[in-house]
Amino acid sequence: MRTVGIIMRRELASYFATPLAYVFILIFLVLANAFTFYLGGFYERGQADLDPFFSFHPWLYLFLIPAISMKLWAEERKSGSIELLMTMPVSLADAVLGKFLAAWIFTALALALTFPLWITVNFLGSPDNGAILAAYLGSLLLAGGFLSIGSCMSAMTRNQVVAFILGVVVCFVFLLAGFPLVLDLFRAWAPQALTDAIASLSFLTHYESIVKGVIDVRDLLYFAMLISFFLLATGIALELRKAD
């Protein structure tokens, strides 16, 4: 566990060593606010809540999260520093977890910087702050899910652009798993049970139920298992192909 922290701190510092961190945070904040006010009709709705804000997060994350996660492993491969890291007395699990946590903390920071919106809505009315907190938690879990997928895609290639595109596609499939766009692909040939299983994997379904303010253990478990699964897959991908 000691090494998880060391790797996490190094990784987190590396975000801020380049303009990446600042560009990401800026774009995230601009887009999150623009969507809320222009597409979400924050004022026009006349309701003191942050629904317009949170409902766009999945779509925002779809492109922004893979941009964060694409470098996690692909960059180490490209520069060869993966050889340095993998020959340190560090377990693969610690390295995968440390890097993932760094990316997650970074997105948590970006998310936390949207607090002026929360202040605004409290200034304008009296929203259900418990529900808003739950929604922030849901958004963070969603980001974690996207990041774990991105981490896995990044571990499979040395090309960051490929990692980005794969990340977006796989996240998109998981996002819309409960919708006809994805389900129709399976409905034609797969048994009903499989189609239902795929539908239950949808990010949106689980995310929306948390955002409504209902923190169900099943939804938490869903995200925990999804993240664990993709981190495990990251480890396997690295183990198989680290030296390629």
Binding site: R2, T3, I6, I7, R10, A13, S14, A17, T18, S79, G80, S81, I82, E83, L84, M86, T87, M88, P89, V90, S91, K242, A243
Partner: protein, 307 residues
């Protein structure tokens, strides 16, 4: 102690390393020689635990690299080929990061960091990011991270590649300095390096060990071992000298360099020809600018074995 047994690595149908077995003990500096693509890097990567062998095993300081990877890795200092580093980090932060990963703490951490910074002369670039450093400095940072925890085993893949002659000399001095109580394995294709630092050399070709000997032992395999070369003051005497030398019973062949007229006499196997040649020179009145006994040419041995 490093011990490998039948270490083998196949990539699909390509046999990168085939049945490599050797042992290295403390105080030895083992040089891995071989043409590019011979399997030097793959072998070192298997020792360092980065590449998993297809079959066979590697054992470092009593730890099997596959069964107890963390203990094995903890006792190794490793410089990967090309010395990959984290370019966006400053030298100071990078070395601190490695020291932390290596589990150094408190005053020992400070001491070791100060030690490697001083010995590799990194104090002038401590606050620079690694990507802005010259190749020589990068290599030195790579070496610094390999020795920061004072490991009993050092595995250095081409430690002097890309360095200028002064830097090469410094790195070799550093290796010689550490050689007494450590096991050091270096790979190189610079043959002078073998003479300069290695106590033993393994030549590897197409994945297999083709020679395992001391540098002096390897040199005796050369056609030029105990050969005598001479340079005449008067080039006019060259033809006569050549004929006379070739007529000596101990001499197997005579070569004359077209570049500088140097005459080299190769002995029949086991024969000593220096006394006979100096006697001949005196008898024939040859004026010698230079007379030189060769111990053998490693590059020629290398070409013969791996060609």
């Amino acid at each position: 102690m490093i011990k490998t047994e039948h270490l083998t690595k196949h990539y699909d149908s390509l046999a990168a390393v085939e049945d490599v077995t050797f042992q290295v003990g403390p105080g030895e500096v083992l040089g891995f020689l071989g043409p590019n693509g011979a399997g030097k890097t793959t072998t070192m990567r298997m020792l360092a635990g980065f590449v998993t062998p297809t079959s066979g095993s590697a054992n470092v300081c009593g730890y099997d690299v596959e069964a107890e990877p963390l203990s094995a890795k903890a006792s190794i200092g490793y410089l990967p080929e090309g010395a990959p580093l984290y370019g966006e980090m400053t030298v100071r932060r990078f070395l601190a990061f490695i020291a932390d990963l290596r589990g150094l703490e408190g005053t020992r951490r400070e001491q070791r960091l100060a030690h490697v910074i001083e010995h590799l002369q990194l104090s002038s670039v401590l606050e620079q990011t690694i990507e802005t450093l010259s190749k020589g400095f990068r290599r030195r940072v790579g070496l610094a991270q390999a020795i920061v925890h004072d490991p009993p085993v050092l595995i250095l893949d081409e430690p002097t590649d890309g360095l200028d002659p002064n830097q090469k000399h410094e790195v070799r001095a550093l290796i010689n300095d550490m050689a007494r109580d450590k096991i050091i394995v270096i790979s190189t294709h610079i043959l002078e390096e073998v003479d300069a630092v290695c106590t033993r050399a393994i030549i590897i070709s197409r994945g297999r060990i083709v020679a395992d000997d001391s540098p002096a032992g390897l040199a005796t395999r050369s056609r030029y071992h105990n050969a005598v070369s001479m340079q005449l003051e008067q080039p006019a005497q060259l033809a006569a000298a050549r004929a006379a030398v070739a007529a000596l019973p101990e001499v197997a062949a005579v070569e004359v360099s077209e570049r500088d007229g140097r005459l080299t006499a190769l002995p029949r196997s086991g024969a000593t020809i220096l006394p006979a040649l100096s006697e001949l020179a005196a008898r024939q009145g040859l004026k010698l600018k230079e007379l030189h006994l060769e111990s053998g040419r490693l590059d020629e041995v290398f070409r013969t074995i791996t060609g």
